[in-house]
Symmetry: C2
Subunit: 243 residues, 2 copies
DNA sequence: CGCTTCAACTTGTTTAAACATGTTTCTTTT
DNA sequence: AAAAGAAACATGTTTAAACAAGTTGAAGCG
């Protein structure tokens, strides 16, 4: 759908960086050169480059140029750090994914849950517990809270496939924004049971709590993802703000 | 130093959001209104707003406006998620911070270390182990690797204060960019000793490994930060890329 | 030879204008 | 009264131009 020039340029440059068309630590062609190559305005090109900067792919150096600082990440099952569903990231990396629904229920939010989830008291909610398997190994125990008013008729079958796919393709909802907090928490008996980890081994989990907003600015999802610690990796790139 | 118009506007809007001048879930004044208030061009204003978007403070909705989705985070000792030193974030939150150097040495990178740190074989390195205390409680065990060629003459005294302060104020080096990976790892005896955690309680740590680049595009630091799990929190905001 | 100066590059910031697209509201038409 | 249409307003994309500021190398000078 959203075909914009700067997005095409961004993707093309990103691909060229990933496939070593530009060497690590080398400078990319200058803005003027790229403008001629892509036949676009300076602003449009700079917009594409600025996304590469926030991805941690390149670094701009005033007066000198744009340096490629991309290094591929090895040894990782799948990359988090973006809003993408478990299914999406598993497929992208050529793995076999499976999702089992272990609880599918609905209720109205009480005071305690308001504090945890951020949904106002009384909101009608779907509460779903799911286990995600990658190549037959249980990796993530998910606690999903979906706002009924926003997601319509959810079923166990949809939860078993991909809820995000349903939201986007059937409901045409656009997911825009997700705030996340990562913590480390003690393993519970439920975690132990479904993730099949021996508590004598690891007794902690990586927990990612997230609030997700749709394109109307409505927070429609709160999720707590409890990750097997030995398979958890979170990538991030920080750009220092000038003080 | 870096006085730019969009930065001033960004800070002002951010402050207004944090201090509830704009209410949660309300729309901010429209672009046209803000342009008149700040007496700037549309591009400059939009640049400020786009930073608020990536901070997760607001969400833009085409045709409608810019919605305030900022919610203050409670119950946290200090915020990570930016490149700031332990000392900086501790001060910012009014806590008493202390850093103890437990090892200060230097060596040349070997093959194994090259893979871990990303420094080329043979690079001359300072290797420093430090424990960071917040209000007398040991929170973080840091393993720092600094490239000698880039940081000049480091001493144990500098390491006890703030290395970043030294780099920026004395060497006038600008830290630009930092790639990080978060994982959960088993606690070692060294961790147990210096962080004073009973392994019967938690037997894992939150580990943040980072590579930091200066304004010349040179990776001059590799650091592994090992965090007490019960005090670790990492905030993040993801904006979904249009597919 | 060593130094400064300057010109020609690089990226960074700001303005202005035009058109595209989505939302809301009011007016017109049926 | 309900539906359709138009106007007004919102943000999104793109172009063009000018000036600022950092880097580099060549020209020129002592």
């Amino acid at each position: 759908m959203p075909k914009s020039i700067y997005e095409d340029i961004y993707k093309d440059l990103k691909h060229k960086i990933e496939t070593d068309v530009f060497a690590y630590q080398e400078l990319l062609p200058s803005e003027n050169t790229l403008i001629q190559i892509y036949n676009c305005s300076r602003n449009t090109l700079r917009r594409a480059v600025s996304r590469l900067v926030s991805d941690g792919y390149v670094q701009t150096i005033q007066g000198k140029g744009v340096r490629n600082i991309y290094q591929p990440v090895a040894q990782t099952a799948f990359t988090i750090g973006e809003i993408e569903s478990f299914r999406e990231s598993a497929m992208r990396n050529g793995h076999k994914s499976l999702t089992k629904v272990i609880l599918f229920t609905e209720f109205a939010v009480n005071e305690k849950q308001e504090k945890q989830t951020g949904f106002p008291i009384g909101s009608e909610i779907y509460y779903i517990q799911r286990v995600h398997y990658l190549d037959d190994m249980p990796l993530i125990l998910n606690h999903n809270y979906f706002l009924k008013e926003a997601v319509g008729e959810l079923t166990k079958e949809i939860a078993e496939r991909s809820i995000y796919q349903y939201l986007e393709e059937t409901l045409h909802m656009t997911i825009v924004n997700s705030k996340r907090i990562m913590t480390v928490e003690k393993m519970t008996q439920i975690d132990e049971k479904y993730l099949k980890i021996n508590a004598d081994d690891y007794n902690c989990l990586a927990v990612v709590s997230s609030q997700t907003y749709n394109s109307d600015g409505l927070m429609f999802e709160y999720t707590q993802s409890r990750h097997r610690p030995d398979y958890f990796r979170f990538y991030d790139n920080a750009v220092r703000k000038t003080i």
